[in-house]
């Protein structure tokens, strides 16, 4: 069992959903209620990681985040460390890959809130922040929870992009999914089996928990 790989995967998942929570809420609300030209283009771009082969995505991330790219250079100047083959780069890649998993459920959740209910909140004198905190988020939270669970579990299992962008540096970019592959390559079936089973259990429990919680939320209405 590669505990440092598991820790790294959990940390990557936590960072990913910590960043995707506000990003998803902002994008989800914007797409749910905004009417603007090119909305379809934005939605398509956001959904792209769902269908793109991870290696293709990883390749472009390497190109755009690498040491020769403006973004890579900016990051290196600011943090003294390159984006690729580092944990920071992994987080950035993971956020991009998980955008559709986070934004789409949140968008659907916000779309399900009737316009009159938001208007009623405004007519009750609530400020925009109060409307968000007391009406929108409580009504959308099952969708938000689903989004976070999907992103988290998907991050744990992500393989292709992580390998392309992060390589397999122990303690820095070697996640549990890569560690499993590593062990299989080394004919260490016992370790691979243990880690695979652990990943299966974590994924099942997380998803199961989210279903239980959202079902309970629906029953309470």
């Amino acid at each position: 069992m590669d505990w440092s790989a598991l820790r790294l995967s959990l940390a990557l998942g936590a960072w990913t959903i910590a960043i995707l929570l506000p990003v998803g809420i902002v994008c989800g609300r914007w797409l749910a209620w905004g009417a603007f030209r090119g909305k379809g283009v934005v939605e398509s771009l956001l959904a792209l990681p769902l269908v793109l082969p991870p290696t293709v995505l990883g390749y472009y991330l390497l190109v755009f985040m690498g040491g020769h790219s403006p973004l890579g250079r900016l990051f290196e100047q600011t943090f003294g460390q390159g984006l690729v083959f580092s944990f920071g780069g992994l987080v950035a890649a993971s956020v991009l890959v998980n955008l559709p998993f986070a934004v789409q459920p949140m968008q659907r959740a916000f779309e399900a809130i009737p316009r009159e209910v938001r208007e009623a909140a405004a007519c009750c004198g609530m400020s925009r922040w109060q409307v968000l905190a007391r009406v929108e988020l409580p009504l959308a939270w099952p969708g938000i929870l689903t989004a976070l669970v999907l992103s988290f579990t998907h991050t744990l299992g992500e393989f292709g992009v992580v390998l392309m962008v992060g390589g397999s540096i122990p303690g820095e970019t070697k996640t549990i999914a890569i560690a499993i592959y590593d062990r299989v390559q080394a004919f260490d079936d016992a370790a691979a089996g243990q880690m695979a089973a652990l990943l299966l259990i974590i994924s099942f429990v997380t998803i199961g928990l989210s279903y239980v919680l959202t079902n309970r939320a629906r029953l309470r209405r």
Binding site: V117, A122, C123, G125, M126
Partner: protein
């Protein structure tokens, strides 16, 4: 029981709402309206007439291209200066058509959600007193899904009042409940409004509802005010043929003013072979072509077993062409004279039975002079009668 200040007496006599709203799209609007404190102004019109848009503009949920909204001398919206307060800063209480209650909050929570202006310690007690005011004692802990339509409507009313609003806005508040509940809610609202000191705008397409609840009706069509007046004025003295049609007056005809008899206090109206006496309306010159109407309540049926004396008011004789049962009353249609112009009269079921009325029966009607109302002729009305849509 302590009542919110909105329900207490002693409001400023200057208090009131004035609005001028103009726009061409998405829904055309061209209205001026005033609603004094304590007054209920009903905006009545068919769907698409812009009545809900007016309410939304007053609430700040939509922004018209031109005009203003002022409440108690305070400017809420002024297109000229670009000032447009958001709904949060307008002190409105709004009841939405489908109530738009917060589904995740119980009844008490819904009402308390509109009490941001009060100290926290007072909110609970106030909300409970408001719920009691709308007869929801004991249901404070229920979520909207566990309340009936009528109960949800009451929560919505309590929530609208919870903000101690300076204007109360009701957007078809009775359209989503069954008929029996609606009648009960009318009574409750009529009782409640006696204590309300703020102006109230009621949007409805139901003239009966508007007549029960409102002091003043504003008849709207395609975003324009066709007439503003008391329910009786609008229903008996419609300003135009369009209003007469919108308030469901079925008896609309074309005639000619023959002259005025000042001594008798009547205007003479020529219609087909008849000369009718009408209420003196001397502003219309003789020989003017007019449209005229008579509300069904001013058409009287003569008893067939007791022939009318000669001095009956405006008698006309015709043949019953149709009897439509409407429950306790029957809508009788009578074809008059050679033109076959039709006039409709509601009669009670027992009157139909006692007089042995059936299609083909000959009947005599009195058109009460007081009820005949003259209007500018409607454009494009051939044949001297207006088929009711």
């Amino acid at each position: 029981m302590s009542l919110p200040t909105a329900l207490a007496s002693g409001a400023d006599p200057r208090a009131g709402l004035t609005a001028r709203l103009r726009q061409t799209s998405p829904i055309p609007l061209d209205v001026d309206l005033t609603c004094r404190a304590g007054q209920v102004l009903a905006l009545v019109g068919p769907s698409g007439s812009g009545k809900s848009t007016i309410l939304r503009a007053v609430a700040g949920l939509t922004r018209p291209a031109e005009g203003f909204v002022r409440c108690d001398g305070e400017v809420w919206f002024d297109a000229a200066t670009g000032l447009a307060r958001p709904p949060q800063h307008r002190s409105v209480g709004m009841v939405f058509q489908n109530y738009a209650l917060f589904p995740h909050m119980d009844a008490l929570g819904n009402v308390m959600a509109a009490m941001g202006h009060l100290p926290k310690a007072q909110r609970r007690e106030r909300a409970l007193s408001l719920l009691a005011r709308v007869h929801l004692d004991g249901l404070a802990a229920r979520h909207p899904a566990a309340l009936s339509g009528g109960q949800q409507q009451r929560v919505a009313v309590a929530r609208a009042l919870a903000r101690d609003p300076r204007v109360l806005l009701l957007d078809e508040p009775f359209s989503a409940v069954d008929r029996a509940t609606r009648q009960r809610l009318y009574m409750e609202l009529a009782e409640l409004r006696r204590d309300l000191k703020m102006p109230t705008l009621l949007v409805t397409h139901d003239l009966e509802e508007a007549s029960i609840l409102a002091d003043t009706l504003c008849i709207l069509h395609r975003g324009r005010t066709l007439q503003t007046g008391t329910p009786t004025e609008v229903k008996t003295r419609p300003a135009s043929v369009a209003v007469a049609r919108l308030v469901d007056i079925r008896n609309i005809f074309d005639g000619v003013v023959l002259g005025h008899n000042e001594a008798k206090g009547v205007t003479l109206l020529g219609w087909q072979e008849h000369v009718f006496h009408t209420r003196l309306q001397r502003d219309i010159a003789p020989d003017t072509a007019v449209s005229w109407c008579i509300p069904a309540s001013h058409v009287l049926l003569h008893r067939r077993d007791r022939p009318t004396r000669g001095d009956a008011e405006n008698p006309v004789t015709g043949v019953v062409s149709d009897l439509l049962s409407l429950g306790e009353t029957v809508r009788m249609t009578v074809a008059l004279g050679p033109s076959g112009a039709r006039i409709t009269v509601p009669v009670l079921v027992h009157v139909v039975q006692r007089n042995g009325l059936e299609p083909g029966s000959t009947v005599t009607l009195t058109l009460r002079a007081e009820g005949i109302h003259l209007m500018n002729p409607a454009p494009q009305t051939p044949g001297g009668m207006h088929p009711h849509p």
